[in-house]
Symmetry: C2
Subunit: 436 residues, 2 copies
């Protein structure tokens, strides 16, 4: 940094996205958006900044501490959104009259939290949510699960399991054990099973509920068996069939009938810590990278917007962990996700040929080939070095000789092989075949 | 609003985007991104929030008053970005070692300004910028102009003019008139020509520069004549050929050679109020809607990042007025921009057929047809009403009879015509033909 200038730096917990990373992120968002759209989800957007009262209504302790909150020019108490769920609830309450139910929306946008960056957390990140508000039906529960499968497929991921359970069935168990009043603490303990293991979880639950109850709960949440077997065990521990167990059965039937059966696992240890879930809950794990944890998760809630309206709005939703999945894709896809570049560069051979180069680039783009003109005369190796840094695979050569003859040269910037005297159609054919 | 709840409302100057509007905006962004990418521009992203010192360095009076600025949890003096140019300058200075020049980037993102909403301004809006940093060449100037033309073409707009001038040539005129010291005031007066007319502009300039000089300036900025004629007049009033007039000539040559000549107008009244432009400046007007003003504009600057680095970084850039263009597209495109929906709905005829409906939807999506399953049993007219509200053109009917026979019905929700007993391939063919 030079003296007398301002140090160019970003705030702690914030980051720039350079082209290589930002391209991947944009590609990711497009694939997920296309996948959602092809199933009938529609996009919305809400302001980054809202009345603090609207965003913090209930004032969740941990969240409130992390929220960016300040006074605006009109001395209004405002805050930056810290998730997309609260603004969606406000949105539904405000626009209910203009919308139709079921309302299937997706929203992919930035949120801000003043998190502790020591844990590797960022203070600005994307959330990627989809929800169906209106029906409380097995079909809409399944649609959300199937949407997650579609999104993962669209990203090129086939090996994953959707781990599903039902909060209602779990609550039945707690009622039978006389522990309904301690459900929040127990849910949080159960949520730790995969992290701390069975014995530590037993100790935790015993401390809350006593040893006998802990035994029952552990029997309920222990993995093992196929969907039917696990469901039978859950039913036998909760007094037989219940609306929750029936719902799980229906979801599994639909999954089997539509080809998703193999990806759905009944896993009663999935509870989701958050207390607003009332029906199905789920988390999603990658077969090749189980250690990174759940890449998308969600569940059914009883009432989305009770803070803002007396209208009851049940729904089911999911959130895709975009940063976690982007990192996973880097590991899973050989050569790196979205690493392959396409297109050509047209080097500037002579200043006087730039107009012809722009004309050629336009013709190539008209045939679906991305084409960049190098816009000033520099030594050719410098121009090639630029193209290589950008990952452009081909250069189309048009010097005075080629221009006079109406032909082109083509240089493969990877193999360094060249071909000369190509006509325009030949050029397009080669580039189309090589995916440029 | 019910009693005891929080009023669901957004801040003044902020707005929600409902699906119909947000779809248009996302479509707009994709088209512009694809257009930029096909020319070799790459995307970047920067944080929404930065150190206030970084964003406000020079402390522009009007801007500073509008900036959202506050103390974060670590008592840092932070602000929300109010444009994409300042963060880009900081980005270039910070990452110069990791990048290559010429650096061609685009950035489409939200910015925030506490503007006076009485003038119809919004406090949160998108900016859509592209820049080429590095070369000071006619080729890169032209690339930016051609990029604007490509972006407009990609949006379906053909009838527009890129109104170009050159700040250096204008400065020559002021020097000859001994008015170099008053250039900022005069630029601002000239900038008003199209709004207040020739006579009022004459009065304004006379007050700054005297009547004789005002006459000269008005002769210079008055429209009339083709590119060559205007250029001759500019040269004769500024002492003959100059680097600026040569640059304009070269840009026009390249435009003619690459098919853009007809869209470029030499308009010496274009000066752009901002004082950081040093070379070409331009504004873009729509032939069918001249009254809405410039829809994209920009120019060449001498040094992007002098606030943060001693490295000199000349560049040329442009900004697309997204909100203005979206409004223009609504007027220009019959039926509304992006209004046509595609795809089918599969109504729920029987709860037991939902799994088969999901399977059918998956098969249709595999063939490129967007397909939404209605996920609970309701009266058919209600399901059709939902599809119509969403603008879905077709319904695929699969009741118990169709399911038993392995056939489908198809209902056109616009014309209300139905066809029965279709096989899957027939269905796909009809839907592909109708663009569903």
């Amino acid at each position: 940094m030079a003296e007398g200038t301002i140090e160019p730096r970003v705030l702690k917990g914030f980051r720039d996205y350079l082209p290589a990373q930002e391209k991947k992120r944009r590609d990711f968002i497009r694939k997920v958006e296309d996948s959602f759209a092809s199933r009938g989800f529609v996009p919305i957007d809400t302001p980054a900044m809202e009345y603090a009262e609207v965003l913090l209504g209930k004032g969740g302790g941990e969240t409130e501490k992390q929220v960016y909150r300040f006074r605006d020019h009109g001395d209004r108490d405002v805050a930056l959104r810290f998730d997309l769920t609260v603004p969606f609830a406000r949105f539904m309450a405000e626009h209910l009259g203009e919308l139709y139910l079921p309302f299937k929306r997706y929203h992919i946008a930035k949120v801000w939290r003043g998190e502790n960056t020591q844990r590797g957390r960022f203070r600005e990140f994307y959330q990627c949510d989809c929800d169906i508000v209106g029906p409380d039906s097995a079909g809409s529960d399944f649609e959300i699960l199937a949407s997650m499968a579609s999104a993962l497929n669209a990203l090129g991921i086939r090996d994953f399991t959707l781990n599903v359970s039902h909060r209602g069935v779990f609550n039945l168990l707690l009622e039978r054990l006389g522990l309904a009043g301690k459900s929040v603490e127990i849910l949080r303990a159960v949520d730790k099973l995969s992290k701390i293991g069975k014995e530590e979880t037993r100790t935790l639950i015993s401390a809350i509920a006593g040893e006998a109850a802990a035994e029952n709960i552990l029997a309920f949440i222990s993995p093992g068996g196929d969907f039917g077997e696990v469901l039978s065990r859950m039913e036998s521990l909760t007094g037989g069939e219940s609306p929750g167990s029936e719902r799980l059965k229906r979801i599994k039937e639909m999954a089997d009938q539509s080809g998703l059966g193999g990806s759905i696992v009944l896993n009663p240890a999935i509870t989701r810590g958050l207390d607003y879930y009332t029906g199905i809950v789920f988390e999603t794990f990658l077969g090749a990278l189980p250690g990174i944890g759940s890449v998308c998760s969600g569940g059914r809630y009883n009432d989305l917007a009770s803070l803002y309206t007396k209208e009851r709005l049940p729904g089911v939703g999911a959130s895709i962990g975009m940063d976690r999945l982007l990192a996973a894709l880097e590991e899973l896809i050989p050569g790196g996700y979205g690493a392959r570049e396409s297109g050509v560069i047209i080097p500037c051979m002579e200043e006087s040929l730039l107009g012809a180069a722009f004309a050629l680039a336009e013709r190539l783009r008209g045939r679906g080939v991305s084409a960049e003109v190098f816009t000033e005369k520099k030594k050719l190796p410098q121009q090639f070095a630029y193209a290589e840094k950008k990952g452009i695979p081909f250069a189309v050569i048009m010097g005075p000789d080629e221009a006079a003859r109406g032909v082109y040269g083509l240089k493969d910037l990877g193999s360094r092989e060249s071909r000369d005297g190509l006509g325009f159609e030949e050029l397009v054919q080669i580039l189309a075949k090589d995916g440029a």
